[in-house]
């Protein structure tokens, strides 16, 4: 009789709580997806009828389509740049032991523990005083401040776990250090790098505060377009856009799970 069994009152209490909390966590997202297919002109739950009209409208709305493309572009650039910067720094921090490397590591990661809102305000003031970048570039730079630490945090443990003798063996067999890195180290730590890149991408794509504060009005990322639209009116195309995002995220997550299952099964 395990502690999670339903044979005693505590087990029943536990299952009940778990069911309620799971509903609490998941229901809002489910409600949005469900109501995006409803025929009523306002967002309603339970939805009535079935229609794809709101999806049509959402996909015909340049604000959302452009927002999506802008977000995609920003996230892609941020992912590539922050991965490169992060991997280089992680490599330096793990492989070259020098006094203070631990301190530098925790300093570089520290932007993650600060409120995004405060970072956004600081960067707003900063960019208005130092116009080193304009338009969307400001947002890209801003996202780097949180995505680089994020890559660092994922890649450093991966590099630490990596068995260095493999790399040394490659050099022993005649590969130059740079070649050894690209031929041996990189392929081995690739899953970790993918994870870091995916995390950076999602972080940038989903980020709200900096986007609201720094995005150029002519090129609004999707989160900003949604943020302002949500405040104005409850139109069902919003539910459609949200559902698309939810379903894309879900699909990525499932694919990731399946891929890692297959990889670990091999």
């Amino acid at each position: 009789m395990t502690i999670t069994s339903l044979r005693h009152p505590f087990g029943i209490f536990l299952w009940l709580m778990v069911a309620l909390v799971m509903v609490y966590i998941l229901a809002p997202l489910a409600v949005i997806v469900a109501s995006s297919f409803g025929t009523t002109g306002y967002v309603a739950f339970p939805p009535q009828g079935f229609t794809l009209r709101w999806y049509e409208q959402a996909l015909a709305n340049p604000r959302y389509v452009n927002g999506f493309l802008t977000s995609l572009r920003i996230a892609a650039i941020v992912t590539v740049v922050s991965s490169a910067i992060g991997i280089a720094a992680a490599y330096a921090l793990v492989r070259y032991e020098f006094p203070g490397s631990r301190l530098i590591e925790s300093l570089f990661i520290s932007p993650l523990v600060l409120p995004g809102l405060v970072l956004a305000v600081a960067l707003t003031i900063f960019f208005s005083r130092n116009p080193i970048a304009t338009g969307t570039d400001r947002l890209i730079l801003a996202h780097l401040t949180i995505c680089v630490p994020c890559v660092l945090r994922v890649v450093i443990p991966v590099l630490q776990r990596f068995d260095r003798s493999i790399e040394e063996a490659a050099q022993n067999l005649g590969a130059s250090p740079v070649k050894a890195f690209f031929l041996v180290t990189l392929p081995v730590i690739r899953p970790g790098i993918f994870a870091a890149a995916a995390l950076a991408f999602v972080m940038s794509f989903d980020e709200v505060e900096m986007s609201v504060f720094l995005a150029s009005p002519r090129e609004q990322p999707l989160t900003v377009a949604l943020y302002s639209a949500v405040q104005l009116a409850f139109d069902p195309t919003l539910a459609a856009v949200s559902s698309i995002l939810i379903m894309i995220t879900f699909a990525i997550m499932v694919v990731h799970q399946v891929v890692s299952r297959i990889r670990s099964a091999r």
Binding site: Y24, L119, F126, P177
Partner: protein, 290 residues
């Protein structure tokens, strides 16, 4: 230094030993220094520059104005309420996941953490739909006689707590899951074997041993909820009397940057001190390892 990029280029030219790591670290250092440290210092400088060159007028204004003191208190109590809800909902779920013997556990954890991957705007929008006057939750509350006609949770403190707690719950669950997983389940079995009912066994043993982790998770959720922006400003409306909303207002609508910087600095100070305690807890021996 064998495995690392060696301090020598192809032509055999000897480079100083510190050069390769320095070059590798340079871009990250630029990002950290130029886009993080410098702007933060600028923010702080802005907050203590009225009247110029050095003055604390904005701090006096914030702490002297009962409206802003109320905003601060509301923000802190929002943090406390959200943390409490997350604890009450999060512990049973985390305990369940940590003790369930099933190959479905990874899948369940994935499902629980799924909302973390969805943008805060989308999650807040979902709650707005449920909390508005004609939203499901508000209708239920009215039908159950728990709320008067015309009542809606939208734009209310309770509404913000409900929405924000849902947003942060996965973090609490994941933190507590790791802590409980580290507590030998045979300790609960031993307690039951000695005559404690399952509920008592959990209270007397698991809860006691997870105390450090519970505290750490609470600090994390607290610090995130007092500084959250999207959910409070959407569910609470643009006039919600919270620090985050006030900062937004002062920065983008009123353009009073010294005051915005001041509110940010105060928020930052609170979040940072909480984060420091949290860091100590995670590193230190306060989190039981067993």
């Amino acid at each position: 230094m064998g495995g690392a990029l060696e301090p020598r280029d192809r032509r055999g030219l000897i480079l100083p030993k510190w050069l390769p790591p320095a070059l590798l670290l340079l871009p990250a250092a630029l990002v950290f220094g130029g886009l993080f440290v410098w702007p933060q210092l600028g923010l702080f400088a802005t907050s203590v520059a009225s009247p110029p060159p050095i003055g604390f007028a904005t701090y006096q204004r914030f702490l002297g104005d009962s409206f802003y003191v109320a905003v601060l208190v509301r923000t802190l109590s929002l943090g406390a309420c959200v943390t409490l809800v997350c604890l009450i909902c999060g512990f049973p779920l985390a305990f369940f996941l940590a003790r369930l013997e099933s190959r479905w556990v990874p899948f369940l954890i994935m499902i629980v953490s799924f909302p973390l991957w969805v943008s805060a705007v989308v999650r807040s929008f979902a709650w707005m739909v449920l909390l508005l006057r004609n939203g499901l939750v508000s209708i239920w509350l009215r039908d159950a006689g728990l709320a008067p006609a015309g009542f809606q949770l939208m734009y209310s403190f309770a509404g913000i707590v409900i929405a924000l707690a849902q947003v942060l719950l996965p973090l609490m669950v994941i933190t507590l899951y790791a802590v409980i997983k580290g507590i030998d389940r045979d300790l609960e079995n031993a307690a039951m074997n000695l005559g404690a009912s399952p509920g008592r066994a959990v209270c007397l043993v698991t809860l006691r041993l997870a105390r450090g982790g519970i505290f750490a998770g609470s600090l994390l959720v607290f610090s995130l909820s007092i500084s959250a922006f999207a959910t409070p400003s959407l569910v609470g409306g643009a006039t919600a009397q919270l620090m985050a909303v006030a900062i937004y207002e002062q920065t983008l609508e009123i353009n009073d940057w010294p005051f915005a910087a001041t509110i940010s600095a105060i928020l930052l100070a609170i979040a940072l001190s909480v984060a420091l305690v949290y860091g100590r807890l995670i590193d230190g021996r306060n989190v039981p390892v067993r």
